[in-house]
């Protein structure tokens, strides 16, 4: 494996972890808005209990991604920074408002309703803008005149490909988060909340799959090189569909937890995360060696080899130190029944 491949794999790993954590985070905000007026179900409480301790950690990942791009691929930074100025700024503004209000709504119940609406709506908008970075890297929306690259927003927002991605981002956000919250409420023995999120997951799942097919269909016209690359890796795509069906099945299986209960949400969550893993692997592999088609490859934008080696060393040391922290965090908030099932103090 070359240095460039190691670097892009680490970057891809961060993006994947962030994508999963962030969809859950954003989706939870949305669900907490939807079920705000149904206090008897506790669906909102469940969403909030998951959200409160995790958003800060999730937010770190987005910074980690930016830093990984800058430090591993400084050459690409120049171009990405230039073309992403507008979408990047929009994302930043939305993220800022959302995180601030997420915190505020917990300490100032007086404003809670407004705050929950803001975090809920931005919870759908942010993924839509974030995912737009992907079609932008496909190249056809970037125009280079006299060596100055520019993003053609008009072309981007009239492209069906972009809208397929946006649909995919929104449905995935809702799908993954409702699945995770189903699992979380199952863990907390909140039957009513579980029923709601279980139902939501079943409704949205097929739409998520549909929008991913839509991405492939539009890609065929707009980014043929990528389409061909992905199709050449068809076993990954097939595996992804099989995992999706497996997750669907898991939601219908009888529960091992409760008599007459339905669904094994934990299995479904694992299957769906694996599904996204397979699909994004096929996408990422087909995308190589281009970071931005056709101008920027992972080789041309790569950092200085000495810097790469130093960075790589800190990755190993850094995550070795952090790992116990993550485990402790996970046990406190995801596994500890006292927290998961706790009704506010």
């Amino acid at each position: 494996m070359t240095d460039e491949l190691i670097a892009i794999s680490i970057l891809w790993g961060f993006i994947f972890i962030y994508a999963v954590m962030a969809t859950m985070d954003f989706g939870a905000g949305f669900w907490s808005m939807v079920y705000m007026n149904r206090p008897q179900t506790k669906a909102t409480k469940i969403a909030n209990r998951y959200l409160s301790p995790t958003w800060e950690v999730t937010n770190v990942f987005i910074v980690a991604i930016v830093v990984a791009i800058v430090s591993f691929f400084p050459g690409a930074t120049f171009m990405l920074g230039t073309i992403l100025l507008i979408p990047g700024s929009i994302i930043l503004l939305l993220l800022t408002i959302r995180s601030a209000f997420l915190v505020f709504s917990h300490v100032a119940p007086k404003y809670e309703k407004v705050l929950v609406y803001i975090s809920g709506i931005s919870g759908l908008l942010i993924p839509a803008f974030l995912i737009s970075v992907l079609p932008i890297t496909h190249g056809s929306f970037v125009e280079t005149v006299n060596g100055v690259s520019r993003l053609r927003l008009d072309r981007l927002f009239t492209s069906p490909h972009e809208y397929a991605f946006i649909a995919f981002a929104i449905t995935s956000t809702l799908f993954l988060s409702s699945l995770l919250l189903a699992d979380y409420s199952n863990e907390a023995n909140e039957i009513e909340a579980y029923t709601i999120y279980h139902r939501d997951a079943l409704i949205i799942g097929p739409f998520a799959l549909l929008s991913s097919i839509l991405i492939m269909v539009t890609m065929r016209n707009e980014a043929r090189w990528l389409y061909d690359g992905m199709m050449a890796r068809w076993p990954w795509l097939v595996a992804s569909v099989i995992l999706f069906l497996l997750a669907g099945g898991a939601l219908f299986l009888p529960s091992w937890k409760r008599k007459n209960g339905r669904g094994m949400p934990r299995l479904a969550v694992v299957a769906i995360v694996l599904q996204y893993f397979c699909a994004s692997y096929a996408y990422g592999k087909a995308h190589l060696p281009y970071m931005i088609y056709p101008n920027m490859t992972i080789e041309s934008g790569f950092t200085h080899p000495n810097t790469f080696r130093a960075l790589f060393a800190t990755y190993i040391v850094g995550f070795a130190i952090l790992f116990p922290g993550f485990i402790y965090f996970w046990r406190l908030f995801m596994k500890d029944r006292r927290y998961v099932a706790n009704d506010e103090k």
């Binding site: 800058v70 100025l85 810097t307």
Partner: protein, 442 residues
């Protein structure tokens, strides 16, 4: 406004906003940690209550510090892609290590805030220590990038290519230690004075409730003591920072002091405004020989003046005023702590007079202003360079236009968040007044 200036204004506004929360995000956890430790030592539950209430405030402040820091980090790449290209190749380490510090802080802050009632007192102290370490480490590492901009090492630019890269040499660039120390010490000082300000204000507002007075008195004394110690340390370290400028960025020191002619026995000019035409500082107070002594510990130290440099390398001359304002505030706060110490310890007076209390109320905001002046001085004083003698700010700026609209958008968000933070803090502490939690016995 020209393109570079617009970009600088946008980024400067982001930093000016972020630095308020970032500084408090470093300073307040340190105060919480001290309060927790005092509680474990004295078993006085007032200190536990302080830690608890400050943590609530900290969580709200971090709700702005974290996203605004995210903006600052991403905006670096969006507005200064040329700069970040060099940073990525040479100076990526501090950014990367900062991520780990950021992770440590986020993980343990969530643990301390949301799991406080489920973990042991030892784990609470451990979590808090990690939060304080993570916050300070983030500040140190990001400051390191700033230090590198002033004293770049570990690479050369040959025919536009970056060669001979030594990332660790760049990491340990000459001004790293002194500059990072300055930032951390002044953040601890600011956190402490902010606490002192609030406590003093609360004491003035609750004159007739002795129990509340007592609680805030303890917080006030803690704030003043820590603030005093760290303002002294900041001053000593600030002196080293100035000597560093003398050695590595002489034109920055010359602009800070309004010195045009190279000379030994150079005077220190306090106050006034630098005038480009007459090459003097107008209305300043001149102390003979002192600048030479401060720069090199000897009166015959030769201090380089601005005229030794081409005029296009001169930093804007108003940095003299910023520099004076920063030092002035630092000195004033140091004096304030000394007066408080004398009053309390030597005159054995346990009640401070009103004029003193009102002066303490201004200490927190003043400390923050000092931080702002210091940063604006540090970054404006480096102009026209983004990396000293290696890359100009104009070379680093984005090629995208329309920054004006973005500037308006971001600025309105900052104003809005500033107002929202104040409202939320007020709303929270109004609903949870201290009386609810104070044990009645003394």
């Amino acid at each position: 406004m020209d393109h570079v200036l617009t970009a600088r204004t946008l980024f400067g506004t982001t930093m000016a906003f972020h630095i308020i929360f970032a500084t408090l995000g470093v300073g307040i956890p340190f105060m919480i940690l001290l309060a927790e430790l005092l509680y474990q030592k004295t078993k006085d539950s007032d200190y536990a209550l302080m830690a608890n209430r400050w943590t609530k405030a900290l969580a709200i402040l971090l709700g702005v510090a974290i996203p605004s820091g995210t903006i600052a980090g991403v905006q670096l790449s969006l507005l200064w892609p040329g700069f970040m290209e060099v940073i990525g190749k040479v100076m990526a380490l501090p950014f990367q290590i900062e991520i780990y510090a950021f992770f440590v802080e986020a993980l343990f802050l969530s643990i301390y805030v949301y799991a406080a009632n489920r973990i042991s007192p030892t784990m609470r102290i451990v979590s808090l220590t990690f939060v304080a370490i993570g916050a300070a480490a983030s500040a140190i590492l990001i400051t390191n990038v700033h230090a590198f901009e002033g004293t770049p090492t570990g690479f050369r630019i040959e025919n536009g290519q970056i060669v001979d890269v030594d990332p660790w040499k760049a990491f340990f660039n000459p001004s790293f230690a002194v500059t990072a120390t300055h930032v951390v010490l002044s953040a601890y000082m600011t956190g402490a004075f902010t606490i002192a300000s609030i406590s003093a204000y609360k004491m003035l507002k609750n004159k007739h409730n002795e129990r509340i007075q007592l609680f805030h008195k303890k917080a006030l004394m803690l704030g003043l003591t820590v603030g005093g110690v760290f303002s002294l340390l900041t001053a000593i370290n600030g002196h080293e920072s100035a000597q560093l400028l003398h050695e590595y960025q002489p034109e920055k020191l010359a602009a800070a002091e309004g010195l045009f002619e190279t000379q030994s026995h150079a005077p220190l000019v306090i106050g006034g405004f630098t005038d480009r035409e007459t090459q003097t500082v107008k209305w300043g107070i001149e102390i003979p020989w002192l600048l030479s002594f401060l720069a090199g510990n000897r009166f015959d130290t030769i201090v380089v003046g601005l005229n030794d440099f081409p005029e296009e390398w001169w930093p804007p001359l108003f940095v003299h005023t910023l520099f004076n304002a920063m030092v002035g505030i630092g000195m004033f706060l140091l004096l304030l702590s000394i007066v408080g110490f004398i009053w309390h310890r030597i005159r054995k007076q346990h009640i401070f007079p009103n004029w003193f209390m009102w002066t303490v109320v201004t200490a927190g905001p003043l400390a923050l202003l000092g931080i702002e002046f210091g940063w604006i001085f540090a970054c404006t004083g480096r102009q026209p360079w983004v990396i000293y003698r290696m890359m100009t700010t104009a070379e680093a700026v984005t090629q995208s236009t329309n920054l004006g609209t973005l500037f308006l958008l971001f600025t309105s968000i900052y104003v809005f968040l500033l107002v929202a933070v104040v409202l939320v803090l007020r709303s929270y502490f109004r609903r949870h007044p201290i009386e609810q939690h104070l044990p009645t016995h003394m």
